[in-house]
Structures are given as structure tokens and as C-alpha cells.
Symmetry: C2
């Protein structure tokens, strides 16, 4: 694979997804997404891997240097920076959600239409071993008819930007969006409509932050799906999050929970061997080279859009 | 406990819930709910337990003999028979759903208001060992904020009455209603609103029968809940149905799945010892004697009502 001039703006999210490729290819520089942002952890991680790092105070200086931008700063800022990158034909590996409002998302969409480059949302879970195993197993269960997805996170003490809707965007665009992306990818059909509910009580002084959410999706071809997302995973739980998905088909059911992928069909219950994980950022670079792999630009925007619709539907009912 | 004159109308559903008490107390008679109904299996089961059985061709003959009626005939007929019983002050242990339309349910409600007796829906799962274990464990997880319930059934070949909405009523009033009852009992708050989706494709020539359903509930105090119900449990699965519930509280999460009740809190993950199961019909008889135990008359009607609302909401979107 060809080498790219990679830069990183912000250190708020999942820059780690790009770490293996940055270790191999190096970085042209890193910069905070806003003046107060601390990027020292990212710098140290890169240097710990033997990558020499130039830190720019203003990310605009990076715009002349990059071909590929890893954008993961405060959630309300990612869309605007993505637009700036796209206007300069810089490919963007963007923290999810790509935007926290329909207006932001529309700006990204327009910029992408006018750009030679495009944006890939950090839907990295789709390339984890368990998800790839589920995805392959779903081929053997006939027509997918019903899906249940779950994200459950430990709350801990979140950055102050999580506490206002204007800087965070809500649990659905931030967390449930992963399960929305799984459901879409596994069902192989698009969303038609969504109804959602959220609640932000008992959030331990986290302001607007919603602790619970539920989404109900009508999809094409009569497929239906639900997604549950919450911040109530107890501190004593063995893992930070509890990702689950259940895919119900006409000839069997595939499920992931607790590190195990299971299929039930007329033969009975089978625990499936795990496939290898893939590198979501490497797949993005291969897509730039023309391969049809990884998260597509349309998925990156469309999953964000349905998540924002769900969030707004829930808010309208409060 | 005092002895009651117990009769059975119909043999379509869960008469087995009453079997232990009928074995001890005997039955005054059994009768089909409609002329063609075959009650020979019920008769044989009772006689196999040493209970002598008189079969009446017309259930109206039983109405003069019974104090307590076990009503479980074709699903569209249970409400009308329940009304007839209530008008004669006969207590009714009624198959769920107690009615398959709001009109039917309203007739039962009016009859109950004017009767010395009342109706108990066959929400027997609530007294199974696993549910009692979950119910007790929920006391230790703070405020309940989010619940996810599931019913998943093997389809097999269903009685012809399942194939029209007019004689069956739909998967939500018939199946999801159990999980609706669990959610209500475990949350300790009432339902405010429901949104639902169903689909009846790929139902192997079962007419109207819905294969999938999802319900989204807004409850009091900001509690939210989802219920998933389907007929896609594969024939090769180890059990007929796959009941699950997940209760998310401010201090922990309690779950039931695959025969195991699990609690996660700051101490970590604990598998809970199972409580003893209870006899839902015995509890009903004890309620007649004045004890505050078992399924209440209000629950019996209210859970049916919210299930019918959900079914109608889903149908309105088709």
C-alpha cells in the first residue's frame, strides 16, 4: 500500500484506531482541535511507538501538510473541521458522530459532494473479531427479520463537554450509533423510520447527559430493529462496555454477548470460532486506493443522520 | 385453604397451571368453549391424576356449578365467557390475553365492576423460579431506569385460529404481553405510552400471524422499556421458548437468560441462587380468601389493554 501524509486533529476520541498505520507510516503532525485541548497523551503514545511528532498549536497549519486527517476532537467541533479538510481534498477519518446536528451533517454532506476526498466515520467495532464473525454467520440464517442491538457503558466521570447537548449531542448519536451501524450492516436494508426515548435523570451531575435510550426502527422489507444504550454498566463489571447484538433470521438466530458468538438453527446451538479482527483505518486507506472495503462515506453520514433523527424524536417527547 | 368448586371451559391454553389444585380439590366439570373444541387431552390429564371428570357439551351448564372457572378456549372467545362468569359472580382464571380488542376488554371491565368476583390473567411466568429471583434481586439495584424484555417462540404448526387477527389477536397481546407484565411488575411504575412494530411475512402460511414484534414503552418517572417478541426460535433450539429480561438500575443490573439469573454491581458479576417457584392458581385462590398475593385484577386488565394498544399502534403503521 502507498504511504500517506497523515495528521491528527484532536485527541478526544479513538485516535488509537489509526495507531498501527501511523506507527508504520509516521505522521506529519498533530494539533489540538481547540486551544485548550491537551494532546500530550497522543504525542506520548506515538513517541512510545518510535514515531517522531511535531505538535502544531493551530490545526490550520496542518491543513497544508495532510492527505489524510484523523479528526477526533470535542464532538461539536468534528463536523466543522471535517468540512475544512474536505474543502482541501483531505480524506477524513472522523470520530463518530460525524455531526451532532442535521445542520452540521448537511454541511459535511455538501462539502463531501464538492470534494475529491470523503469522510469515514470511526465505526471501528464493525471490524472487531466478534462483529466479523456475526456478519459471516448471518449469511447462513436465511432472511434477516428482526435485530436487537445494545451498547451499555460505564459512566465514570465524563469530560465536561458530555454534560451539555450542544457540545455532546446525546447518547444516541454518540453511543447507540454503533449499534445502529451494526443493525444496518447486518440487515442489509435501509432505515425507514425511527421512534426513540431517552432519559437524563440520575446522571450524577452530568447535566444534559442521557443515561438511558431506546430506539425502534422500521427498516425496508418489513425488517424491524431495536437498539438499547445506557451509561449504567456498573463499575464492578469486568469490561468497560457490554456490546450485544441478536440477529433473527428465517432459518436461525445469531447472537453476540460476553465475548461469545452463538448460532442457533435446526442443528441446535453452536458457538462459532472467531474470525480475525481487521484494522478499520487500514481499510479506509485501501478504500482510498480504490478497493471496495471498510466503512463507506454514505454509511458514515447516513448512520449519523438516523441517530440524530432518533435523538431529536426522543427530545420532542420529553 | 378452603375448597372451591372449580370448572374448566376450553382446553386451548394453560389449564395446566391449575392442575395441582384441581388434583387436590377435584373439578365439578369441564366443557369445550365452542362446539368443535376437543377437550379430551384435558380430560385424560385430569383422570391420569385420579380426578373424576364430567364433560358437559355446553359450558353454560357449568355456570350453575362453578365458583371458580378456568377459562382457556379459542382466544377470541375467552372475554365473552369471562363476562358470563363474572355476571354470575364466578371468579375467572383466564388465559391471556383476557380480550383481543378494546371492546372485549371494556366489556370484561364493566362486568368485573358489577361483580363480586374478578378475573385473574394467566400471567404464570411471574411465579416461575427465575422471575421470583429477578424480582427479589431488583430490590438491591437502586432505582430501575431501563428494562428490556424478550419472548421468542418456536412456530411449529399453529392451530388455524392463530392465522386470523379476528381469532388470535396478534403476537403482542398473546406473547409479548408476558414480557409487558414482567416489565410493569419489575419497574413498579405504570405505562404512559407505547410505540410498536410488527411484521407477518415469512410466516409459513400462517395467514395474519405476525412473526416479529417490538414495543417501546414510556413509563412513569422517566423509566423506559423495550419488549421484543418473535416466532423464529429455531426448531433445533433446546427449549420451546427463550424468555429474557434485563433490568437496569442506578446501582446494578439484573438479568435472566438461559436458565440463569445474574446480577452485576460494584462487587462484580454474581449468579443468583434460584428461589422456589409458586403456583399462580393457588395464589389466585388465596387472593379470593383475602390475601394480597398473586396477579391482581387490575394488572390482568391493564397489561392486556397496553398490549392491545401496542398491537393497534403497530397495525396503524403497516
Amino acid at each position: 500500500m502507498k504511504s500517506y501524509k497523515i495528521g491528527v486533529i484532536g485527541a478526544f476520541g479513538h485516535w488509537n484506531y489509526a495507531m498501527d498505520q501511523m506507527t508504520m507510516q509516521g505522521v506529519v503532525g498533530i494539533a489540538p482541535g481547540y486551544p485548550e485541548e491537551d494532546v500530550s497523551g497522543l504525542k506520548a503514545a506515538l513517541e512510545g511507538r518510535g514515531v517522531s511528532v511535531t505538535v502544531y498549536e493551530d490545526y490550520h497549519e496542518l491543513l497544508d501538510l495532510m492527505e489524510v486527517a484523523v479528526v477526533n476532537t470535542r464532538l461539536d467541533l468534528n463536523a466543522g473541521i471535517t468540512v475544512e479538510c474536505l474543502r482541501r481534498d483531505i480524506y477524513v477519518f472522523c470520530e463518530k458522530p460525524v455531526g451532532i446536528s442535521m445542520e452540521q451533517l448537511q454541511q459535511v454532506r455538501v462539502a463531501q459532494e464538492q470534494s475529491k476526498a470523503w469522510v469515514t466515520a470511526m465505526f471501528g467495532i464493525r471490524y472487531e473479531a466478534w462483529f466479523r464473525t456475526v456478519k459471516e454467520a448471518v449469511k447462513d440464517i436465511g432472511e434477516v427479520r428482526l435485530l436487537n442491538g445494545q451498547k451499555s457503558y460505564k459512566l465514570g466521570r465524563r469530560h465536561v463537554s458530555y454534560t451539555t447537548m450542544e457540545t455532546f449531542g446525546g447518547i444516541i448519536p454518540w453511543g447507540a450509533v454503533h449499534a445502529i451501524d451494526w443493525v444496518h450492516d447486518l440487515a442489509g436494508v435501509d432505515f425507514i423510520d425511527v421512534q426513540a426515548l431517552t432519559n437524563n435523570e440520575y446522571n450524577q451531575d452530568h447535566g444534559d447527559l442521557e443515561m438511558t435510550s431506546l430506539c425502534l426502527f422500521q427498516m425496508e422489507k418489513g425488517v424491524i430493529a431495536s437498539v438499547s444504550a445506557d451509561f449504567y454498566r456498573p463499575q464492578g463489571a469486568p469490561t468497560h462496555d457490554d456490546d450485544r447484538v441478536r440477529v433473527v433470521g428465517t432459518k436461525g438466530i445469531v447472537e453476540y454477548k460476553n465475548g461469545v458468538v452463538q448460532k442457533i438453527d435446526q442443528e441446535g446451538v453452536t458457538e462459532l470460532p472467531m474470525k480475525e479482527k481487521e484494522d478499520v483505518f487500514e481499510l479506509m486507506l485501501r478504500r482510498i486506493e480504490g478497493e471496495d472495503v471498510g466503512v463507506t462515506p454514505d454509511e458514515s453520514l447516513d448512520m449519523t443522520a438516523i441517530a440524530i433523527r432518533a435523538r431529536d424524536n426522543a427530545l420532542s417527547k420529553r
